[in-house]
Assembly symmetry: D2
Amino acid sequence: MHTKPKVLVNGIGTIGKRVAHAIKLQDDIELVGIADKFPTATLKTVLEPIGPLYGTYLYGSDQEGYENLKKAGMWVNGTIEDLLRNGAIDVIIDCTPEGIGAINKKNIYEKYGVKVIFQGGEKADVAEVTFNSVYNYEEAIDKRYVRVPSCNTTSLIRTLSAIERKVGIDYVFVALARRAVDPHEYKKGPINAVEFDRHVPSHHSIDVKTVMKNLNIFSLAVKVPSTLAHTHMIDVVVERETSYDEVLKAFEEQTRVIFLDANEYPATSVIIEKFRDYCRSRYDMYEVVVLRDLVNVEKNRIRYVQVVHQEAIVVPENIDAIRAITGIEKDKWKSIKKTNESLGILK
Amino acid sequence: MHTKPKVLVNGIGTIGKRVAHAIKLQDDIELVGIADKFPTATLKTVLEPIGPLYGTYLYGSDQEGYENLKKAGMWVNGTIEDLLRNGAIDVIIDCTPEGIGAINKKNIYEKYGVKVIFQGGEKADVAEVTFNSVYNYEEAIDKRYVRVPSCNTTSLIRTLSAIERKVGIDYVFVALARRAVDPHEYKKGPINAVEFDRHVPSHHSIDVKTVMKNLNIFSLAVKVPSTLAHTHMIDVVVERETSYDEVLKAFEEQTRVIFLDANEYPATSVIIEKFRDYCRSRYDMYEVVVLRDLVNVEKNRIRYVQVVHQEAIVVPENIDAIRAITGIEKDKWKSIKKTNESLGILK
Amino acid sequence: MHTKPKVLVNGIGTIGKRVAHAIKLQDDIELVGIADKFPTATLKTVLEPIGPLYGTYLYGSDQEGYENLKKAGMWVNGTIEDLLRNGAIDVIIDCTPEGIGAINKKNIYEKYGVKVIFQGGEKADVAEVTFNSVYNYEEAIDKRYVRVPSCNTTSLIRTLSAIERKVGIDYVFVALARRAVDPHEYKKGPINAVEFDRHVPSHHSIDVKTVMKNLNIFSLAVKVPSTLAHTHMIDVVVERETSYDEVLKAFEEQTRVIFLDANEYPATSVIIEKFRDYCRSRYDMYEVVVLRDLVNVEKNRIRYVQVVHQEAIVVPENIDAIRAITGIEKDKWKSIKKTNESLGILK
Amino acid sequence: MHTKPKVLVNGIGTIGKRVAHAIKLQDDIELVGIADKFPTATLKTVLEPIGPLYGTYLYGSDQEGYENLKKAGMWVNGTIEDLLRNGAIDVIIDCTPEGIGAINKKNIYEKYGVKVIFQGGEKADVAEVTFNSVYNYEEAIDKRYVRVPSCNTTSLIRTLSAIERKVGIDYVFVALARRAVDPHEYKKGPINAVEFDRHVPSHHSIDVKTVMKNLNIFSLAVKVPSTLAHTHMIDVVVERETSYDEVLKAFEEQTRVIFLDANEYPATSVIIEKFRDYCRSRYDMYEVVVLRDLVNVEKNRIRYVQVVHQEAIVVPENIDAIRAITGIEKDKWKSIKKTNESLGILK
């Protein structure tokens, strides 16, 4: 019988604060601490008596982080390396800003036996496997370094792998209307413009291929002045003629993919309000929403529109990744079920 | 000993859904039902098994509403009048759209003995008392019709009455940068403009005077392209010289007024994120936020900036108003304390 | 030798005010008047001594319009029908709101011999030909009713017909991130949401086919909270392998299509600022902008991103349509050249 | 008789490009060149054959600027210092980014006899006089260093000095809802937030006092997610009872202050559209707009709302400042009249 793996989350930002909270809801994983470099408003809030991480041990991401937190009057218990030296951590979820994970790996993680789960801000080669719960859970089992790709990538893999399994895919074109920033942000724009992604293809299709290695996919992207969710407009050529019903069945059978009708939910704001109405913590929407009445199927072409809550969608994949990387659960469906139930995921 | 008053919420929109949820959290008040006219996405969501009002009895606001809900396949138990005829409701919280409350009063409520709490969208003369928990709770006791004014009015009364009590007020000028629409909205703008309130003074100062009857106050307002919160910039002439410390003490002693520093919370989005981080349901911020480091006091002048979450701030006042109007609690401080604890209000 | 055709513009809104101004810049077309139904701020402004239509005769769109304008103290010279009865108009450019053009046709235009150019808000069957200057100018010659399609359609035809001519097209997928409203608008949103076009395909691809009748094209669209320009992300399968250079040449050779680099113009706001910097009237951008460095060509696939100024792009097509419908210029290239020079179109 | 003063504009950004263009429209001032440090898109555009500064001599702001422009393939004629060494410049309008003007003064301008006009981004002590055309033109005559304050300051001085002249001012409170960024901007936000100005009072009232030295004024400010114009809500205590008519007369008599009715122009976007409809270059609105129907006068209190086009409003003051600083026109009214006519200013 396994003892619970001891997990630390490094970096309490948009993803880190959610993953740490989600770990606390698991009965087979232990949150031994959180770490950060700066005493941000968010860090202080989640540790307040009414915050979701109240009572969690706090560490400095490094010595400088330790000093920063200490200076701010926070109760800080040492650094990550203090814990690592004592073998007190089995897995680190690195949720530090883009590119810092790779530096942490080199400077800290590699010196110890700890396993690490990186996020999509890191390049794929930071890890042995880029991970998606339904697609390649098995590949991550007992690995040392695993990477959970970004929100856009994770959501595309969910719906595209459902299609691929059912009818095979020849070609995918994705146009992304990305939310420009997260809701708390106030410094970055645009206020009244659409910004072009200057990479062609945009990194999204490239990133999907780090998981679905043989997929023929191309993406273009723009940033739009909204904070709530990404919207994907997708055109897929499949290997044989299919039908609306068959495609809907493919999505229906896929976990963490749900349907809403654009007729009733005509904008991203109305979708997000549904999750506020559910009283989900932080209105987190872990599920990809496929707009059922916008799915179009003609012979071997499928077009659909999906909506992705950029802040939350990778949280369940991170939890599953802990089970895979530690080997405490080798059956992906058992892990997915456990994660889904703990987070109230609809299906 | 009182039996619990039986309360129905009519109109499950932005305010109604919150008040109904808040009533469910009270141990001395019973939610006998909710009513609406249309099968909106919100209505369906809050009644889903994972919604906060699951299991609540649903009624049509009127016969037409009953038909609408029925046609949508919802489980609807009759109309409000069916309940009123049976004397099954003590208090209705009318949260219907602006102006409908007065029509409901004339067409329905007046025919029965029911007590009613209206919202700020109705004109003041719909009720005997316009209500604020700390300012005039006593006046509402055992009344039949009470009105809870709008979010802007409620929040201004909270901070201004704190100042008035401490040092007296000669004159108040308020400039409001109002959020244009609520977060779920997608049809209304402006997208890239500031819209002028064409009433001079704007209705806000007039509405404050329905409660603080002798206050010399004037307001101007604009709508800005944001969905999160109202921001008030306030200039007050008080009756005698005062000091920064004395003014802060006045705010400190007032319930449902909290401090944050603009230095750490430099925008409405960062303030709202704090309440997402707390995992407050729907990130509801019932408290007015006074930006502590922006309070300025010179002789007999006080300037300050406050932030108001338009969706949530009147919820505690509605709960207190139920206790007042029914007379189940004649001590305002006891009601305020009960409400605050049930909703997790910070102070 | 032709005398100048006498043209009246009915409806001085976003399109009408521009077309009327553009007509004044032609030496072979006469603006005999403008007509409207309401004394809007725009109508009054363009007729002020410093406005671009100062001195133009004003008419009521109908009797009610006449009364409205008169009551507002404007100098109004009768109704459109007064002019039509006297044979004083050869061509009406109908720029009235969506759907009104068809009503005008039935109630007014059909009773007289007048020729009419409708806009894209009308259904295609309002006219004999849906018009694009380079694609089917000849078809419109001497017709009675012609329709200039919308900004999105016009711009897609410009670039797609350039590709078609060069290498043939098998299939086109277009994803549109539409500006939600025009810059002057303040009532409509969304402020912070992406709204889905609930038609699948969206009307844009259907409308392109009213001109390019055999094109295999499919479009999906969303509205984004910006007022400046539409952005199209396009994936084309062409009939044979092609190259980046060949595709650029196709665009280069097409009139009213220009290149900018996303590297220097990374957002719609920077593109629009260029036309403010040129001091173009109302910063009108009549040209479609193809982002040169975002064009991608692989074998028989072309992907590109284009930007469309929704307020201005159909103006040159309207001017050309006058020449075609009246037959005063049967050579499309001569008309295009004349129009381009009069409006300062870059190429 | 004076020869024309030779003027160079250093920094071709939002203000610089407008001032350079405006100088070209004066018959008593000569634009000898423009200078910049980087080959921005704007710089290239205004120098294109169809740009408003085509043919103007271009210089590097310094040696590094010269190299940058040269490397970009631009036709650059040397540096500012090359010109200064030859005595070829009488006045430099420094429109470089905030704080750079002071550095330029120390490093370059002080070494030569050149006169300099700085902008509001510089601290007041960079110059001998902070300048406003109607308020203190005379003070700037024959000075060496003059500063034109920011758009907010300039516009406040225009309307407040009109009131002061008529009835005297005891106290002013200004609440500013500032446009967050200029229209071309795409990197900076906020997208969906109101940002607080963390200075109390905000710098605006302090800056007004650099011109109206004895004015008792206090300001609070927020940034809102719009790009078009600043909106000021103002409460003034005057020295004696006054009337609506008298206040309107005061504004009416003031140059560069115009009236519009909020009833017809209910939002900043509709006001800006008026100036697009006029076909003003870049829709520049040099005039402060006072919303006539929002002016409120009660005894000795005046409240009003004004709208300020942040990009353009200081342009006429810069032109007047050239005449003052060089002494070519000692009568301010003659300079104002000349500037107004050249720019098409309404009154």
